[in-house]
């Protein structure tokens, strides 16, 4: 294996990407500040049309920002043409050259670099071996499967040793099992070669699975960045909470009284918390994840309601319970198999697992407030 060759200085991740750019589009205004650390896969996640691909195109130089700066490996590349940026891009539809063979596609960038023929052949052989494409070198692109095309696209993008690899939803056209397998392969490859990459996806599962840092985009803005765990557990806005995983967002109000804050859940009673400076009285959205709800009156914070729908998921059940504050979704264990639709159920939750998002008339997605760990009840 010649991955040492591949993971030379250019790919080993001594660089990092820093950018702060603004660009106005008819649909939205992009305003992003981002830093990608060397040797990491940074996942960029967000709903369709939020500007993920556009951000990649701006980094690649396929579009120009109105204002701002992009620095790659300590060098400003904001005004450089794409050909001079040393950025690799794996397109969503792969954009493989249909008139060239697998080998022709992979060595295209090497030919552009005027690499001598022996060196080019050697590198081609390395890449073919690395991506298990040896037997397909002379095959036409239209005769490849989806997974093979994806591997060729990745090999082609890595061939000229880019400083940054951009992956624009590269698995979106593949079926579920192949997607999972290729995701694992990509992780292993990145661990071997240590390249820096930005992986764009609209699937939360994909973004979380890489385990590295991720950023959530909404309407052209990066609303939160952090490790997968940080973002999942402490979403900055109701949008992030709802986009990464499922979240119950229940309207509530916080009142002050006798040294404690009182959280009043509409129609479902009142819970008390120690007073916090960043929890002023007002209207909030209470966020609790469905998996953090459990049946039974054991926990002090609880809501009671009627089961409207009950779905068997194999690993457990998914419930929709109508309570005073609205419909609450919950994932519960298999042992509650006796439950039926129409039954009354009490769902309890730990106040340490909840988030409170202040609601203001202008902006309903303000920063969330973590609740003090001491229940105070």
């Amino acid at each position: 294996m010649n991955e040492n060759e591949l993971s030379g200085n250019e790919l080993s991740g001594s660089e990092q990407l820093c950018l702060e750019i603004k660009k106005a589009y008819p649909e939205f205004r992009m305003e992003v500040a981002l830093q990608v650390n060397r040797g990491e896969i940074f996942s960029l996640v967000g709903p369709s049309g939020c500007g993920k691909t556009t951000l990649l195109r701006l980094i690649a130089g396929l579009e120009q920002p109105d204002h701002g700066v992009i620095i790659l490996d300590g060098r400003e590349i904001t005004n450089l043409p794409p050909a001079q940026r040393r950025v690799g891009l794996v397109f969503q539809d792969y954009a493989l050259f249909p008139h060239l063979t697998v080998a022709g596609n992979i060595e295209y960038g090497l030919k552009v670099q005027h690499l001598p023929a022996p060196a080019r052949r050697q590198r081609l052989a390395e890449l073919l071996a690395l991506f298990s494409l040896e037997g397909l070198a002379h095959r036409q692109i239209q005769h490849l499967s989806g997974g093979e095309k994806q591997r060729v696209a990745l090999a082609r993008a890595l061939a000229p040793k880019p400083l940054l690899l951009l992956l624009d939803e590269p698995f979106s056209a593949l079926d579920y099992s192949l997607r999972q397998r290729l995701r694992q392969e990509l992780k292993k490859l990145q661990a071997k070669l240590g390249f820096t990459a930005i992986f764009v996806t609209h699937q939360q599962e994909e973004a979380l699975s890489f385990g590295g840092r991720l950023g959530v985009m909404e309407n052209g803005r990066l609303v939160q960045t952090g490790t997968a765990e940080e973002v999942y557990e402490n979403p900055a806005t109701p949008f992030v909470a709802g986009f990464l995983g499922e979240a119950n967002l229940l309207p509530c109000s916080v009142e002050e009284g006798e040294g404690r804050a009182r959280v009043r859940l509409e129609g479902d009673g009142c819970f008390e918390l120690p007073l916090q400076e960043d929890l002023p009285p007002g209207t909030y959205l209470l966020m609790v994840r469905p998996e953090d709800l459990s049946p039974g009156p054991v926990l002090a914070w609880r809501v009671t309601g009627k089961i409207e729908t009950l779905e068997y998921l194999g690993s457990g059940y998914r419930l929709e319970v109508r309570c005073g504050a609205g419909v609450i979704r919950a994932f519960i264990a298999k042992k509650y198999r006796n439950l039926r639709e129409g039954d009354q159920i009490t769902l309890g939750f730990d106040p340490r697992q909840i988030r409170l998002f202040p609601v203001s008339p202008q902006n309903s997605s303000g920063p969330s407030v973590p609740v003090d760990n001491s229940p105070g009840i």
Partner: protein, 600 residues
């Protein structure tokens, strides 16, 4: 598996279509209901075969199309001294001169047409801009223009006493600059490029548009510059289209008739012109037939090459996304270049036609003074009758009568067959109806004259020939349109209780009207523009607009020719608007691609 056996495997699609076919009142429905239909259906294509191969209309058309060619072949091959004649001709200087000239002018015509089209194709293929659709539609216009009108426009604008030379004298009085090459090699090429470059532009633009822009982006990100990307990515992907078009234009120019007949004089001849001269001027019918056979063989070879290149076009991409808008703010350099290109090509393309129209309003064909209708008045004088041999009214009546008849007959027959074969893929039966495209019109006309010249009146012979000329394209258009219409709407109407006649009247014909109008307009345009058949089969007695202009040019009566040409332009424009108002013509219908033909 053939569709006829599907019922055995539980697929009811075809049975359903049979049942609905009966509901639509087609002939010979399977008696005995669904079960009988199923049983009948297990016999592969029994009914369809009858439809395709034994239908009297289909057989009659094959007879009409192929009998004249066959009679020509028989007459030549079984004539006395055929081989001596053939070898003598193939060794003659005339053959080699004609072949050499035909090849050279066709090469130049094809090369220049593509060269002129490529810059425009870039803008059409890579950008969106206001009026793009309209411009694309207008690119069909040259195809609608009769050859003689193009020649007239060329003479009026680029001729020795044409507008261009008039301008050159006015602008550079001391330099003595004049363009005198119209009546010769370069004039023929100029006319061919005028004729062909717009559809080259349209097809190359469409091919460029189908290439996914991400391929260019991928190439740029891999470090390639624009020229390298063009050379390694764009050009190879467009090469099949370019080759296809090159051969197509080569083919058209190689067998050019009207342009070479008028502009070539005695010096330059294509095989088409040679056949016509042998046939009409020297009355050597056997010799004309022999040359026609040689040309038929040459044409078969070229068509084979062209079909091969058409097959390769499959490799192109299928991108159908949104293109960036060509705005001065975003692409200042390219916007200016595009505007320059539009002005240049617009000048090249519209000036000759505009010159014809403008000059028709000035006495003696020269601009100056106030516009008058003198030239149009001359159309009604004896001078016109003397030069043309018929009165103006007679010319108009004959032309429109022929055009309407050809249009009605061709469209009716083509639609009848298209409807009959609506649920069949393109197959051999369709190919037989398309093959007349591969026979030169002069060859067909000479064959037809030998077959029935002494029996049938000239008008009938001309109608026969023009039907042969128009049918392949008309059939191709209607066949595609009828197949695309599909059956669900008609089935819905049948289920709602509509009778077959009512379905035809209220659903099918209204939906097919755009295609029918377009087909009718094309058929009329072909008939109006035809010069060869009327010259060869009319025996001087039938005079159409094209022939009238040809004779007026021959008699140097340019004022009348220009006035008549303007009327002709107006008619062509009306036909074009009729097509555009109804539907957008598909270029693949005009130039059917060989890969669309599938084996049955």
């Amino acid at each position: 598996m053939k569709s006829g056996n599907r019922v055995k495997d539980g697929n009811y699609d075809d049975v359903r279509s049979r049942v609905f076919a009966r509901a639509r009142g087609e002939k010979r429905p399977p008696a005995g209901g669904l079960i009988r239909a199923c049983r009948e259906h297990s016999r592969p294509h029994a009914r369809e075969k009858w439809h395709a191969d034994r239908n009297p209309v289909y057989l009659l058309l094959l007879l009409l199309f192929y009998l004249p060619v066959l009679s020509l072949l028989v007459k030549v091959f079984f004539g006395a001294g055929f081989w001596q004649e053939l070898t003598g001709f193939l060794r003659s200087k005339l053959f080699w001169n004609t072949l050499s000239f035909s090849c050279r002018q066709a090469l130049y015509s094809a090369g220049f047409s593509l060269l002129l089209a490529l810059p425009g194709a870039y803008f059409f293929g890579r950008f969106a801009f206001p009026g793009k659709r309209l411009l694309r539609s207008a690119m069909v216009l040259p195809f609608m223009l009769p050859g003689i009108l193009v020649v007239l426009g060329m003479v009026v604008f680029y001729g020795n006493n044409g507008v261009l030379n008039h301008w050159l004298t006015l602008l550079f009085p001391d330099r003595g600059w004049r363009f005198t090459g119209l009546y010769g090699f370069w004039g023929i090429i100029l006319a061919h490029v005028f004729y062909n470059f717009t559809f080259c532009l349209r097809l190359t633009g469409e091919a460029w548009e189908r290439i996914n822009p991400t391929l260019h982006e991928a190439s740029a990100l891999l470090g390639a510059g624009p020229f390298y990307t063009w050379r390694r990515i764009t050009l190879p992907l467009m090469a099949p289209t370019l080759l296809y078009l090159f051969l197509l234009v080569f083919l058209y120019s190689f067998f050019s008739f009207t342009v070479v007949l008028v502009l070539g004089g005695y010096l330059y001849k294509t095989f088409e012109v040679l056949i016509y001269i042998e046939y009409s001027s020297r009355l050597r019918f056997a010799r004309a037939a022999l040359i026609a056979i040689v040309q038929l063989l040459l044409l078969a070879g070229l068509l084979y090459l062209q079909a091969l290149s058409g097959r390769r076009r499959r490799r192109e991409g299928l991108f159908a996304g949104t293109l960036p808008a060509l705005k001065f703010r975003d692409y200042p350099g390219r916007t200016i270049l595009f505007l320059f290109y539009l002005v240049f090509t617009g000048f090249f393309f519209f000036s000759p036609l505009a010159a014809v129209v403008a000059r028709s309003f000035f006495s003696r064909g020269l601009s100056g003074g106030l516009p008058v209708l003198e030239n149009y008045r001359l159309l009604l004088t004896d001078g016109f009758r003397f030069a043309v041999g018929r009165s103006f009214l007679s010319v108009i009546t004959t032309s429109t009568g022929l055009a309407v008849t050809v249009s009605v007959v061709a469209v009716s027959l083509a639609y009848y067959l298209a409807r009959l074969r609506r649920d069949r893929p393109w197959g051999k039966a369709d190919l037989w109806l398309q093959l007349p495209l591969g026979v030169s019109f002069v060859t067909f006309s000479s064959g037809l004259f030998m077959l029935a010249g002494k029996v049938l009146p000239s008008v009938v012979l001309i109608l026969w020939a023009q039907l042969f000329l128009a049918f392949p394209l008309i059939y191709s258009m209607l066949r595609t349109a009828r197949r695309e219409l599909g059956e669900p709407l008609l089935e819905a109407a049948a289920l709602l209780g509509a009778t077959p006649a009512r379905i035809l009247q209220t659903v099918e014909l209204p939906l097919m009207r755009p295609a029918l109008s377009t087909a009718a307009a094309y058929a009329a345009a072909f008939s109006l523009g035809d010069l060869a058949a009327v010259l060869m089969l009319g025996r001087g007695r039938v005079v159409t607009l094209s022939v009238a202009i040809y004779r007026l040019i021959g008699h140097y009566r340019f004022p009348q020719a220009i006035a008549l040409g303007t009327i002709f332009i107006l008619i062509s424009l009306l036909l074009f608007l009729l097509m555009e108002g109804r539907s957008r013509p598909r270029l693949q219908d005009i130039f059917p691609r060989p890969e669309e033909a599938e084996e049955e």
